[in-house]
Symmetry: D2
Subunit: 405 residues, 4 copies
Amino acid sequence: MMHLTPVPSFPPIDDAFKARLSRLRELVDEVLIPLEPLLLAHEHEAFEASLAKARKQMQAEGYWLPQIPASHGGQGFSLYEHGLISEQLGRALAGHVACNCQAPDAGNMEVLLERGSDDHKKMYLEPLLAGEIRSAFAMTEPEHAGSNPVVMSTRARREGDHYIIDGHKWYTTGADGAAFLIVMAVTNPDAPPHQAASQIIVPADAPGYTLVRNIPVMGETGWGHHSHAEVRFDHVRVPVSHRIGEEGEGFKIAQERLGPGRIHHCMRWLGICARAFELGAQRAMARQLTADKTLADQQVIQSWLSEMRAEIDSARLLVLDTAAKIDREGQYAARSAVSMIKFHTASVLQRTLDRALQIHGALGMCDDTPLAYWYRHERAARIYDGPDEAHKQALARRLLRDFAS
Amino acid sequence: MMHLTPVPSFPPIDDAFKARLSRLRELVDEVLIPLEPLLLAHEHEAFEASLAKARKQMQAEGYWLPQIPASHGGQGFSLYEHGLISEQLGRALAGHVACNCQAPDAGNMEVLLERGSDDHKKMYLEPLLAGEIRSAFAMTEPEHAGSNPVVMSTRARREGDHYIIDGHKWYTTGADGAAFLIVMAVTNPDAPPHQAASQIIVPADAPGYTLVRNIPVMGETGWGHHSHAEVRFDHVRVPVSHRIGEEGEGFKIAQERLGPGRIHHCMRWLGICARAFELGAQRAMARQLTADKTLADQQVIQSWLSEMRAEIDSARLLVLDTAAKIDREGQYAARSAVSMIKFHTASVLQRTLDRALQIHGALGMCDDTPLAYWYRHERAARIYDGPDEAHKQALARRLLRDFAS
Amino acid sequence: MMHLTPVPSFPPIDDAFKARLSRLRELVDEVLIPLEPLLLAHEHEAFEASLAKARKQMQAEGYWLPQIPASHGGQGFSLYEHGLISEQLGRALAGHVACNCQAPDAGNMEVLLERGSDDHKKMYLEPLLAGEIRSAFAMTEPEHAGSNPVVMSTRARREGDHYIIDGHKWYTTGADGAAFLIVMAVTNPDAPPHQAASQIIVPADAPGYTLVRNIPVMGETGWGHHSHAEVRFDHVRVPVSHRIGEEGEGFKIAQERLGPGRIHHCMRWLGICARAFELGAQRAMARQLTADKTLADQQVIQSWLSEMRAEIDSARLLVLDTAAKIDREGQYAARSAVSMIKFHTASVLQRTLDRALQIHGALGMCDDTPLAYWYRHERAARIYDGPDEAHKQALARRLLRDFAS
Amino acid sequence: MMHLTPVPSFPPIDDAFKARLSRLRELVDEVLIPLEPLLLAHEHEAFEASLAKARKQMQAEGYWLPQIPASHGGQGFSLYEHGLISEQLGRALAGHVACNCQAPDAGNMEVLLERGSDDHKKMYLEPLLAGEIRSAFAMTEPEHAGSNPVVMSTRARREGDHYIIDGHKWYTTGADGAAFLIVMAVTNPDAPPHQAASQIIVPADAPGYTLVRNIPVMGETGWGHHSHAEVRFDHVRVPVSHRIGEEGEGFKIAQERLGPGRIHHCMRWLGICARAFELGAQRAMARQLTADKTLADQQVIQSWLSEMRAEIDSARLLVLDTAAKIDREGQYAARSAVSMIKFHTASVLQRTLDRALQIHGALGMCDDTPLAYWYRHERAARIYDGPDEAHKQALARRLLRDFAS
């Protein structure tokens, strides 16, 4: 019934890739969307079993690890292409995890691929790429505002050829069941703030590491990939070789993963928007108000759908343009756009979900559709990875430089 | 053609009543807010046990049944006074239920008090007032849009001196654990739509009545008072004497409960707004950004707090003015205002919660405060009891009558 | 720490006052609204001639100087009552000027009445009250942000018993044709900022005073009362006795006029809103879309009208509550509310005008109705007297004090 | 100082074209922006004289008639390229008129080029292309809503080989001083609505044609190109050969000009947005608040600038994508996008101007910058060519067709 939102012609997309997108859309509709009720009903085991089957199918169909070079078992897509893939996957609640390109594993893979030692690759990257284990990234601390990530209390003290890590983190996504965490910790407290921290691999079975709780986010503690943990590091001892990159490079490495990460997120959100629009339009057409009128005949509903479409389509071009720019010129050249798409797409997402939910009325409030799930959990889009306000401020400062008199 | 916009006239509040409000605020802070973590953590039993104790205390302190005449064990407050009480109670998640003035029981009490037979009062009203049982009100049907309540499939066929009820309802708040339901069912299918239905009491143990499920609203099935059920009536047989009022008076009786119900809801929402503002302001002051700056120093946060204050305070006056008008002139005279406060206060509520949550950042997403709970569940404020769009349309039609040329 | 939100208490309005309001509404419709086309067509002389007649009638009917004590020829209304009068007058473009309660003359009258010397009263106040002359208030300077009024370059140097004034002001409303200006100038540059300036009367014929131009505000230079001038003071010499109050009291006196001034403005804006709503509703009813449908049948238009009504009515209660509070407890007690009503009412005004204009379509763009005039000129509501942003910041700082931990 | 907003790579833009855009930006800054004060000060003659000189220069530099094929003296740009040109021109108040691509002449040129007879071309098109005359397009009628253009009272009755035209039009842009008008009139009242009207050329000196007035739009009657007239046709007699195309093709021809016209408008609006952003950023950097702080240090201003940037950049991609699509696939394929860009860009324009004005404070209210002019006159962007509401409704109906079950 629905056609693919047309691909803008910026980097040319060949017919083979278009066919892959079309097939992916089918798989999302036929294989991944049917998993949603299990996830929404908190049926952990049934969901994990079905997911395992779906992952096999996505792998067999050639959508496994879309963002990873073919040399490492992935599909080797450019960021622009992966954006388009990510949008399709975003239409389903479990889209990304089914192709092993979910956060934070996708980011961890990139970091290990780019900066990991041979040992890191063998011990951590390979099973991660194979989908045998999961991982987490421990950065945010409850005691400090996420808008200023360089303020951090977690310490990794050097003791011979080991680090002793002490700290308290939260919103550590997927820590529940993860085999290892990449932990951001201050190793050089006297260095300038951006050179103070390092990224260190901590196996989940390291003594002193505790998963305090899965945080009840919007009423749900979740499990596994779908959870956010509060964790503690009490005198956790790991060899110095567990550090990724040089000492003090923690933020530098974090920034390297930023641009691609933003594209992944934003295109995932646009996939959610696409689905929310579809659900809203379908519901409007199906919901009878009187014998000869449906919700789709109401002018207010029509206005919303048109505004949603315009907001989604224009935000989408902005994100795709940014992806193409990163592919072409690198992250640094695209850093203003990378700031911009985060808060802009998040605001489009929130308005889109709010309206799609309202169109559904009472049905929108319950978990018989994925809208209520997205409404509550994607509220975080305006918060995680830096709140809107921080991004707007940072972007403005950069934009204003051109106007110094 | 045009009349002057009426000059407001709020009833004077004496010192004794002010003192009761102040004491109530203390009780909310000291007794009711401490119950919230149990509710948020889904600790059913511990919560219910603590609630039972809290209810006793609220009763002992003279806040039980604030909306009910003293002759029936209540506090006998006017609607205007009860509005002010309801605002204080709204600051706590379990405020209203602690004083036995929660929806839908409060509405059911009013209906039984005004229109119930002696038998109804004895069997259903008295234990309800005493807090010994709970009740539900079954009106909304999944097959029909809530914006047009007269379209309804549930039927109550007369068979001798019994009704045989068949139907399907949902969003029946508090059906889980309720001793009885008041069911809206079509008794006179050939009458004009507004005279087709009756309100009939159905005991929860009546054969043929099934609670299908507690609907997973925003991920939570809840329990007892904090749940919304899908229910079925399959050949449920009740004596004709279970009908409230005359046959065909269902909508008339529903409308009688509407005005006061709106005031209760809106003032409860304003209590939520009050608390959300407090939490936002406290968090802004407490959250350190750098050594010498807090979130409260940020101009964007300041703007939000000021806008929240202005929106809350002006909406509050509109609701209180409406309450005073109903007390003075009756519901009919206030019907435009009653439409207006519903959608207006709901929109203020949503913006207030969104901003308070954003000020909290990651903390706002989790259930360590009540904000995330309100954010997700009070999204329904724009839907239940008629979606915003229906209210705006109905109000406009009434307003426009004055401008016919 | 927290106090209860105060319970509103509006003063009772007797039947005699209600009758005066009703009669005023008639006069506005029959006498003042008919003047609008002349003003909109820039027909200076015809307008001024008609205005002079209208002023006589308003005086004869007992609406002259509503804000001034009866002992000085006014109507002696409380601020609350004057608010209700001001709302009625606000419905017409020339409402306030017809009753001699227009800004800045109204403010100047109050200052001279409260703080003027006997000579000031005789020379300036009396002819102003009689409507024989007009005046201006010179405060804003093009070189300094209006959000921080204490930064000011205009100097009044003492030389014996004279001041020598040098400075540059703009947005000096009504300077064109004014007999005198009250000028805010720094007399004590070394004093703390809020004690540095004084208010000094400068006759318009003082050598060294120049009206540079009537500023083309939104394309219109206007004239007389309906103009905003850029003025210069080059060595303007006035006797020290022209100072109002003590040296350094300039800001103190300015603040004294602030509270009442805000009420006047806000209620005038609400009068504009009332008229804009009426015009919008009338147009919607009159505008035929097809043979059997008007614009009033469109759901989007209905939504707007309902939202306008809710916003206007709630903002109105907030302003009236503030007026009543100032009457009862004085300006200082109401200072938070005084900040709040400025930006809140201005935002309601802007949205209301935008929508009323949109309902009118092409007709709304032209000066065949007063909407386009208000749309462009009342855009200043969010700027003059301190931009929204400054007010929100100031208010938030005051609100946040209650939340220091 | 400012770089060109980068051209998205959709259709490739070669270096020669980029150089032309860059040079155009310079010309706009150096030649066209300096004309603005004359226009804003209503200095008709001085402005027209300077404009005549500027037109010569734009012609000499190769920017004359950018939208017209080289065979007719234009630059032969594709719609996509002309969009980029139009954006640059939009930065100046008199940008388009300086290159002879202003509405409605540009549309009239296109129609005559495509559908005009040889005589039409010789008598009307050639002098129009040469910039020797101007023209108007008379469509909107005060008696009928612009949202439904097929309802029209103007009649052209056939009498032998002449039409006798009777009717009343308004918002006929540039009728003042136009040599001819293209008039939309009903020729076939019994045909289906979309086949009832024809487009007929009426010379401005035809007996019976009267320019009633230049409508006072937002307080300004304007003149020449910068005016909107109310006109009457009383028994105006023109030969049948003055008809463009076949009888009854009026709407068809009007629709043919629609797609390109939308691109022109939207890109002009985006040029205005670009300039408004620049002015806002410059003002923020230049406006000192205290000795060491400017407006640009305020977080609220920063937020606005960032939001403006994101909204402008994303809307721009949507419009350019639509232009590219029309070039590639024709108007019909792009008709949903053509509806969407109109209301979406208009809303971005309005918010951008509102914020840029607010950043300027009192300066923003006056005509010392072009912001106040755009603020008031471009308010029409949401009205002319069909109000937002009509476009949203039409688009939604088309979008919803895909969701019929």
